[in-house]
């Protein structure tokens, strides 16, 4: 019983041209002298080589390993020796070169040890997926997405879709596989059913492949539905097939798993069957050789890495008849600039048409907005509008018209009566938009960094300003306090005021010193050290202050000794003779003062000292009357000095 087939919009009916390559069964293309295996035959990160030049490798031996999650390992397609790991031209529309492992084959085709997982039905699904991953299986329908990544989805899957549509003209690789190896496809499907446990399994195939349909139906179990769909390009596009078979649309930018579907090409299911049940990694594929330039068109089983030249020779291609060499079909294939590029996991066809068969594109005419392209578009886009916007570089409009939902199937270009290469405009526009987005991201990043820097500089500036303001404020406050004190001093008896201050100070000292005699000792030690340093420097400088400093040092040493011997006494002594101590300190300080750098500074210092001395004199009036004369003498001396310094600096 046939399952329901939904309709899809658009589509075209190009001449099928499948007959030419179906005249003979699958042949083995043979072992070429050299295989060139690109490290990237799949979508994702290129594999990492495990071999070095000179290594001998066996058929099926892993020669490169996964590099990250979305990646696939590589295996030697036959036995031989690694002779180079270098950049070689690869099958790419831009004629790029890429790193490849080059193997000179030895012709013996000796297998490495193969370990089948025959008990897969009792294994954990994750084990099976890991085996599929290690077998290097990537989607063989065209995109080359690593199958293990697809199968490891955590989304609920209710439908497994197998793609046997092969809607692209000329190509018959899937068709012949379905005809000749239907049993292997079913074996692969059984493993997938075990892995995914889908509610339904739908194998889509176009109605132009009756032999394949019959072969599949003959071996299909009841729970695998062979769904025959009308022949229309591009029904075999993943999204289109899902829509055809389930009526569901994969959301824009999403994956089939988002609508509960996993879609795999039928050749991929065979690769899974071989990997699990035979222990064979993916080392070969079926490739169609077709086009009028081939004398012997057909399908060949070809080792991955086989140069296209080897296949051209195999199919007896008339080199002088080939107008262009296409990898893939006439709708989505790309031309090869180099005949030596290798066959990879996704190479389903080598098309070598003559000039008459596929003539060079005629010059494009003006778009008359006939809308035939819009009728052909399977994604319900408006190709003619996209064309105008592409030409005008209107990226916003392009996005608004869903340019990125274009699958580049080429149906619009195919049907355009004005021969406009529409798809090429879309490719260019997509690249431009991606570039612009990358540039915008970069610019945004730079902007953010610039703004962060500006903010940081501003913050520092503000902090500095705040500190300055705080200092200014503090200075102002001090000035005010001083003014108050001065005013008080001016109004009351200055001596009385001084006495009070001294009292306050001494009380404070007392309380601090009383706290700890250890502190006292430490202080004395510190002072002694400082005094000794001063003395030493004075001696070395030959200063006349040496005796005074010596005296201060001696005194301090004595005090320290006393303090250590009897802390309380020392404290008392220190308290009893503050004036003496102050003198000693002052003397030490004065002696240690470096030569003044400029007279103004000197004057300022002298003035300060004079002020201090006067203050002390005032204090002494009360606390140490016996020292009054000495203080007075000090003050007089300072006044003299100051006057001298002023005279010297020329300041009156």
């Amino acid at each position: 019983m046939n399952s329901r087939v939904f309709s899809i919009p658009g589509g075209v009916h190009p001449p099928e041209n499948k007959r030419q390559s179906l005249q003979r069964p699958i042949e083995f293309a043979g072992i070429p002298e050299q295989l060139v295996i690109p490290l990237s035959m799949h979508i994702g990160v290129p594999a990492k080589p495990l071999v070095t030049i000179g290594d001998r490798v066996l058929k099926g031996q892993r020669i490169a390993t996964c590099n990250g999650l979305v990646s696939a390992p590589l295996h030697a397609p036959t036995s031989g020796q690694v002779t180079a790991i270098e950049d070689r031209p690869i099958a790419h529309s831009s004629g790029l070169t890429a790193p490849c492992i080059v193997i000179d084959t030895d012709g013996s085709d000796t297998w490495c040890e193969r370990i089948p997982m025959s008990d897969w039905a009792s294994r954990e699904p994750s084990d099976i997926i890991e085996r599929i991953r290690q077998a290097g299986i990537a989607g063989m329908g065209g995109a080359g997405f690593p199958s293990a990544v697809k199968l490891a989805t955590d989304k609920p899957i209710d439908t497994l879709v197998l793609n046997g549509v092969e809607c692209e003209p000329y190509i018959t690789a899937d068709q012949i596989v379905m005809t000749e190896r239907a049993d292997q496809i079913m074996a692969g499907i059984a493993i997938l059913q075990y892995l995914l446990k889908p509610q339904q399994v739908l194998l889509g195939i176009e109605d132009n492949k009756p032999e394949a349909i019959a072969a599949l139906r003959a071996v299909a179990p009841t729970d695998v539905k062979i769904v025959v769909v009308p022949t229309k390009y591009p029904s075999g596009g993943e999204k289109q097939l899902i829509q055809l078979l389930t009526g569901r649309e994969v959301p824009s930018g999403g994956l089939p798993a988002d609508v509960g579907v996993i879609c795999l090409n039928i050749a991929t299911t065979i690769a899974i069957h071989r990997a699990i049940e035979l222990g064979e990694p993916l080392i070969s594929r079926i490739t169609t050789l077709t086009g009028e330039a081939f004398a012997k068109p057909g399908n060949v089983e070809v080792l991955l890495g086989t140069p296209v030249t080897h296949l051209l020779a195999h199919g007896e291609c008339h080199d002088n008849l080939v107008s262009r060499l296409i990898m893939g079909g006439p709708m989505m294939g790309f031309t090869l600039a180099d005949r030596h590029v290798p066959i990879v996991k996704t190479s389903n066809c080598i098309l070598a048409p003559t000039r008459a068969e596929l003539p060079p594109p005629p010059p494009a005419q003006a778009c008359i907005r006939c809308g035939i392209c819009a009728e052909a578009c399977p994604a319900s886009l408006l190709p003619q509008q996209l064309y105008w916007f592409s030409r005008a570089g209107e990226h916003d409009k392009l996005q608004q018209h869903h340019l990125f939902d274009c699958i580049e199937c080429g149906a619009c270009s195919y049907s355009c009566p004005s021969n406009i290469p529409l798809v090429q405009y879309y490719r260019a526009a997509k690249a431009e938009i991606r570039q612009a987005e990358a540039d915008a991201r970069k610019a945004e990043h730079a902007k953010q960094r610039f703004e962060a820097r500006q903010a940081r500089l501003q913050r520092l500036e503000e902090e500095k300003a705040a500190q300055r303001a705080a200092r200014a404020e503090a200075a102002k406050k001090r000035a005010e306090e001083t003014a108050v004190v001065t005013a008080q001093a001016a109004t009351s008896d200055p001596i009385q005021a001084a006495i009070e201050r001294a009292k306050a100070k001494r009380e404070g000292q007392t309380s601090i010193e009383a706290n700890s005699s250890v502190d006292q000792v430490a202080k004395l030690e510190k002072r002694l050290t400082a005094a000794k340093i001063k003395l030493a420097s004075a001696e070395s400088a030959g200063s006349d202050k040496v005796p005074q400093l010596q005296e201060a040092v001696d005194k301090l040493s004595q005090q320290l000794a006393e303090a250590k011997a009897n802390p309380d006494a020392a404290k008392a002594a220190a308290m009893a003779d503050p004036v003496q101590a102050a003198i000693a300190r002052a003397q030490a300080k004065r002696a240690g003062t470096a030569e003044p750098s400029n007279p103004t500074d000197e004057i300022a210092k002298l003035e300060k000292r004079l002020a201090t001395a006067k203050e002390k004199l005032a204090m002494a009036v009360d606390s140490a009357p016996d020292k009054l004369a000495a203080f007075q003498a000090g003050v007089d001396k300072l006044e003299e000095k100051l006057a001298a310094a002023k005279a010297e600096a020329g300041v009156s």
Binding site: P251, G333, T335, A366, S380, L382, Y414, N419
Partner: protein, 329 residues
């Protein structure tokens, strides 16, 4: 042999702009034959003059613009414009009126806007409107149906080129109905307007041929005819029953010609499927409004030009739902 390096797709479909235009020309033949049958050979003289002037104008402008003249002439688009204009003009229009119209259509309405694909208005209709407004007398010289039947090419030449107006002119059925003049039997034929019914039927056949060949979709023409019929049914002329009114308007004047050959001009019409429905329906409504309540007997040209202006706007808001954008599961 050097390998060609081009991008996909490598295959190309059978359609070309020239083949599309040729099919359109082919499809006008039944209508032209009916015009000759009903009104005499005058339309053939119009066709010859319009084609000559249009091609010459196209070639002149193309060479002034430094374009490849033969490459662009071979797209047949100028010829199509000329044919559509010639069909729209009264069969016994003086030659210079036809020449002015054809050159205006190509030079002003098409090439000055940038040539094929860039013209906002349908060139044939723009020329028709210019002529109708500037030369109302010459533009309403329709012969009475069948009265000129014996008129051959020689008589037509004498009339159109030498200016000897021998043909009997009369009000068209649409005119007569509007003004309430003339013998009712000269207004109503079997289906629609007397004589005009066959012209319309012939254009309907040509149009269905193009529809079947996929040159355009059903959206615009069917919407236009449905809208016109609905309007005629809802607002019939006092002297007509509703169904008669519908048939009369569908098979009078330029209804079928407009529906299948004018509003389907891809360049100047809406391009989205829903847009085409709106575009066609609005033209149908406008045609009836102008015919029934306006001052002009027929209205296809005015209605088409008004909607030409609205086409980009309509397209903007009728974008089809792209795959994967909020579809029903």
């Amino acid at each position: 042999m050097a390998l060609l390096n081009v991008t996909s797709p490598h295959a190309h479909g059978p359609l070309s702009t020239a083949s599309v235009m040729q099919l359109v020309l082919l499809a006008t033949l039944p209508g032209i034959a009916a015009l000759v049958w009903v009104f005499g050979a005058g339309v053939l003289i119009n066709l010859a003059i319009a084609a000559l002037v249009a091609l010459a104008s196209e070639a002149a402008i193309l060479s002034l613009r430094g374009r490849q003249v033969t490459f662009h002439l071979k797209d047949y688009s100028a010829l199509v414009t000329a044919v559509l204009l010639a069909i729209a003009l009264p069969p016994y229009t003086p030659w210079w009126v036809v020449a002015i119209g054809a050159s205006f259509a190509i030079v002003v309405a098409k090439q000055l806007y940038g040539g094929l694909g860039y013209n906002p208005f349908n060139p044939a209709m723009a020329a028709y409107v210019i002529l109708l407004i500037s030369l109302p007398v010459q533009m309403t010289q329709w012969g009475a149906p069948y009265s000129a039947q014996p008129m051959g090419i020689a008589d037509a030449l004498a009339s159109n080129v030498l200016g000897r107006v021998d043909a009997l002119t009369s009000a068209t059925p649409l005119d007569a109905l509007k003004l309430g003049v003339g013998d009712p039997s000269a207004i109503f034929g079997r289906l629609g307007g007397y004589g005009w019914e066959w012209v319309n039927a012939a254009f309907l056949i040509g149009g269905l041929f193009l529809l079947a060949r996929g040159i355009f979709t059903w959206h615009a023409p069917i919407s236009m005819l449905l809208a016109l019929a609905t309007m005629a049914f809802v607002f019939p002329h006092e002297s007509q029953g509703r169904v008669d009114s519908m048939l009369f308007h569908l098979f009078s004047g330029a209804s079928m010609f407009g529906a299948f050959f004018i509003i389907t001009d891809p360049v100047s019409s809406a391009t989205t499927p829903r847009g085409k429905v709106i575009f066609g329906a609005a033209i149908g409504v406008l045609i009836y409004a102008i015919r029934h309540w306006g001052n002009y007997p027929d209205a296809v040209a005015f209605a088409v030009m008004l909607l030409n202006l609205a086409a980009p706007f309509i397209d903007q808001y009728t974008q089809p739902r792209t795959y994967g954008h909020g579809g029903v599961r």
